[in-house]
């Protein structure tokens, strides 16, 4: 049962990853080919729950490859990930989205 859930979560994770990559591409591409800049870039601090190397790697990787967000650096004590976002309308909203959508998925996948 546990193994089955892992397979399901992995599958869901891969689909989510592919979807987010497509979505992010469209958004960044749209901004690249239209004349005005819609970007409202900025750097936000994401407090982390993930702790092991693998968890941080997966999360940072996911963040970098998805909607207008790019992992910049992680704090020395590993408590905070600094993320550059391209469409930062509301830092709080962005923080919440990353914590819920991405970190939540990574945790569910690796910790079950």
């Amino acid at each position: 049962m546990k193994r089955l859930m892992f397979v399901l979560y992995s599958l869901e994770f891969v689909l989510f990853y592919v979807w987010e990559v497509m979505h992010s591409n469209l958004r960044v591409a749209y901004d690249a080919i239209t004349p005005d800049h819609h970007a409202r870039p900025g750097i936000v601090a994401i407090p982390l729950r993930v702790q092991s190397d693998l968890e941080i790697l997966l999360l940072a990787n996911l963040i970098s490859m998805t909607p207008g967000t790019l992992s910049l650096d992680i704090s020395t004590d590993r408590s905070t990930l600094y993320v550059h976002a391209m469409f930062l309308d509301d830092p709080e909203e962005m923080r919440r989205e990353i914590i819920e959508k991405m970190e939540g998925r990574v945790l569910r996948l690796l910790r079950g």
Partner: protein, 131 residues
């Protein structure tokens, strides 16, 4: 049929890489350019590789293509992270339209230590449940 799908993927991939190039040219600062450089180009390259594999459906070709895509997706974010970090440490300015910089002031003077922000209550309730 496969021919057409392969052609479509190749075309789409090429267009994405072109857009990535345009983005690098047009975005206002280094950090936003990194977005174009990592995302659009890795997806574009993956589509091109997939087109090659569809056109030459042999096990070895598929294997190489899948490895190529895997490593592209593993390495592109790391390169982006290192470039972004190096730029920030060397004080490459953010675009004046930027709305937030929560990293400011958190590096030590020699940039070897980066302070974190305090964890907010409610965000770390899972980390303590794992023995």
């Amino acid at each position: 049929m496969i021919e057409w799908i392969a052609a479509g993927l190749a075309l789409l991939g090429a267009v994405l890489v072109l857009i990535a190039g345009l983005g690098i040219l047009r975005f206002p600062d280094l950090y936003t350019r990194m977005h174009a450089a990592t995302k659009a180009s890795s997806l574009g390259m993956s589509l091109l590789l997939l087109a090659v594999a569809l056109r030459n459906p042999e096990a070895m070709v598929w294997m190489k293509v899948l490895c190529g895509i895997l490593f592209l997706f593993l390495t592109a974010p790391i390169a982006a992270h290192l470039l972004g970090r190096a730029a920030y440490v060397h004080k490459v300015p953010l675009w004046e339209g930027s709305v937030a910089d929560e990293i400011a002031g958190n590096y030590s003077d020699d940039h070897t230590v980066l302070r974190g922000v305090a964890r907010q209550s409610g965000t770390d309730n899972l980390s303590n449940t794992q023995g």
